[in-house]
């Protein structure tokens, strides 16, 4: 059952201005996130960013101090059983019963989640899907990390949940197993499930996420389609150029379509108004006798985006601090020498909370 609200908004999860404190630690601070139905949303952030707490708040396992949470249009604190029955969760630690066999672990979950019809067949299918069927009779305590993760994944899909919440699902896995797990996650969304995945592995999020939400210190910094976010942070195409004689590149700024030139130690970074300008640029430089050794269109990755967003967040925080200090005689803010040029972004962004695309 999807409520009218969830159907109208197209959102399976809507978290608005949620704060949660554990003693002195502010785990979530005005967190707002939206998870569109049928998509993979990746929560990206360092350890302690609030990803796990966000998952716990979504299922109603933890109550927020402030703010509202809506899952399938329901309030998890009021309709917790209904919400949790429709969610499948894989936590950072597989959370399995080591003394029990793989089968018993799955049977336990099947019983709790109300898989009453064809339970044996359902368990068998889930185990087979995740390649763990051969080990179901063994005690889980003897499983490898990869096997445990596969069993936890199988357990999470037994009841065919509409929303899957994966908290660092590839934690502790070798690259091969990680790739297999990610492929399975992709497969599940293809079947119509909505997925929320927490990770701090940028490579995993790349190519997997339909929507990315970058968190830090319990706050969402930016959220949106990864490509849109990259375009927002890097609105103009950029090319790295180098030549045998770099002095030949000095006049590059005078060429048509060139917006900005940043000479560097190993290359010159050139921003152009369109990627179609690049062949003209090469032709013009060649005509001037410049022997080019490198022409490399720069495509910012999710990793670049992540670091750019976090750097910006840190700058804003330190600017706020310094501004506060300035009022009491502190130092003026200093620009971060490592910061990339984000003027196009910063002029559009009005608050530290970031913009949702």
């Amino acid at each position: 059952m999807v409520t009218n609200e969830a159907a109208q908004t197209g959102l399976t999860v809507a978290v608005r201005d949620v704060s949660r404190r554990f003693g002195d630690v502010q785990a979530l601070r005005d967190l707002t996130l939206e998870v569109p139905t049928g998509k993979i949303t990746v929560l990206l952030g360092p350890n302690g960013a609030g990803k796990t707490t966000a998952i716990r708040v979504i299922t109603g396992a933890l109550a927020p101090d402030e703010g509202t949470v809506s899952v399938f249009g329901l309030n998890p604190l009021v309709d917790g059983e209904e919400v949790r029955r429709r969610c499948g969760v894989v936590s950072a630690k597989p959370s399995l019963y080591d003394r029990l066999s793989g089968w018993d672990n799955l049977d336990y979950a099947a019983a709790l989640y109300g898989v009453d019809q064809n339970r044996r067949a359902t368990i068998g299918e889930a185990a087979e899907r995740f390649g763990i069927e051969h080990a179901l009779d063994q005690q889980v305590g003897g499983y490898s990390t990869g096997m445990k993760t596969r069993l936890a994944l199988a357990r999470s899909v037994l009841h065919r949940p509409e929303l899957l919440l994966f908290d660092e699902p590839t934690s502790g896995l070798d690259p091969e197993s990680s790739a297999a797990v990610l492929a399975l996650i992709r497969e599940m969304t293809a079947e119509g499930s909505t997925v929320v995945m927490c990770t701090h592995h940028l490579v995993e999020a790349e190519g997997l996420s339909d929507r990315v939400i970058i968190l830090d210190t319990g706050t969402d910094l930016v959220s949106g389609d990864p490509d849109d976010l990259v375009r927002r942070y890097w609105p103009t195409p950029t090319v790295h150029i180098d030549a045998e004689d770099r002095s030949g590149l000095a006049a590059i700024g005078d060429l048509d379509g060139v917006l900005r030139v940043e000479p560097g130690a190993t290359r010159t970074t050139v921003s152009v108004d369109s990627i179609d300008r690049v062949p003209d640029l090469i032709a013009a430089l060649t005509a001037q006798g410049v022997r080019l050794t490198r022409v490399e269109p720069y495509e910012p990755s999710l990793e670049d985006l992540y670091f750019a967003v976090r750097r910006e967040h840190r700058d804003e925080l330190s600017t706020d601090d310094l501004a506060t200090d300035a009022g009491t005689g502190g130092l003026a803010p200093r620009p971060d020498p490592d910061a990339i040029d984000q003027s196009a972004v910063t002029t559009e962004r009005t608050t530290h909370r970031g913009v949702s695309l």
Binding site: F22, E81, E82, K93, L96, D98, L100, A111, L112
Partner: protein
């Protein structure tokens, strides 16, 4: 309350316990010592060996029993009467110490154990309600202790009848008071103890701490249960029924309050809910 969830949680906990040989082997030995070894040695000493000194000591002890209890004692010989008194009146603590010890050991680890192993996360995200989880865990803690007691009681009955029966004219055990004790008085005391132990298990940070705290808390409870169960055996049927009734009332209150001790935050081990 979804009883299906309760049953599922209880069944899984019991299944795990069945796998834990390091737990149930010592507990079985404990039950065997109390229900089999000690009674057999003592009763054989009185009946077969005819230990005069022991008979005289037990006979002295019988003298201090309430008149009502003394009137129930059967047997034509001193040895017979002494062994009857021993079997019927002086082994009451066995029926209390064994289930309380075993159930306390299970209950102390049950909630904090979920947290320590990380499986609390699974339960916290599951559709099972916190009251259902509590009830499931209570039942899973109660069954091993009570089941051991019932089995031990059965074996004890056979031992008593085989050894003392010939001295008092046939099989006589369990007496009516023992039936009341086992079915009406012991279960609520077990429930009272577990309601306290589970609350501790939900609040402490480690299984070791839970077991330490449970030991301290359950000692006085064992003392009370011991005295009351002895009173139930010595007194009239109405006394036993009254003791059991009061214990059931206290148990109901304890369990109701205990249900609130399990929260999803505690299963997850979040700092501000500990």
């Amino acid at each position: 309350m979804n009883w299906k969830h309760v049953k599922t949680v209880a069944r899984t906990d019991l299944r795990q316990l069945a796998q834990a040989k390091d737990f149930w082997v010592p507990m079985s030995i404990l039950g065997a010592i109390f229900f089999v070894v000690v009674p057999t040695i003592l009763l054989l000493a009185l009946t077969s060996l005819g230990d005069v000194e022991a008979i005289s000591k037990v006979a002295d002890a019988v003298e201090v029993l309430p008149q009502q209890a003394q009137e129930q004692i059967q047997g034509d010989t001193d040895a017979g009467r002494a062994s009857y008194a021993l079997a019927v009146f002086l082994f009451a603590p066995v029926a209390i110490v064994v289930p309380l010890t075993i159930s306390t050991a299970v209950g102390a680890a049950t909630i904090v154990g979920e947290r320590e192993r990380g499986t609390g996360e699974f339960l916290a995200h599951s559709p099972a309600g916190t009251r259902e989880i509590y009830m499931g865990k209570l039942i899973a803690s109660l069954i091993p202790g009570y089941a051991t007691t019932i089995v031990g009681f059965g074996i004890y009955s056979i031992i008593v009848n085989v050894i003392v029966g010939p001295e008092v004219g046939g099989w006589f055990f369990p007496t009516k008071q023992w039936w009341i004790l086992m079915l009406w008085v012991v279960p609520p005391f077990l429930a009272i103890t577990l309601s306290v132990v589970l609350r501790l298990s939900a609040r402490v940070k480690s299984t070791a701490a839970a077991q330490q705290a449970s030991g301290l808390v359950t000692l006085p409870l064992i003392g009370i249960a011991y005295s009351q169960s002895t009173g139930a055996l010595f007194g009239a049927d109405r006394t036993s029924a009254l003791i059991g009734g009061i214990a059931w009332g206290v148990a109901a209150i304890g369990l109701y309050k205990g249900m609130k001790s399990v929260s999803r935050g505690r299963l997850l081990g979040v700092a501000d809910e500990m």
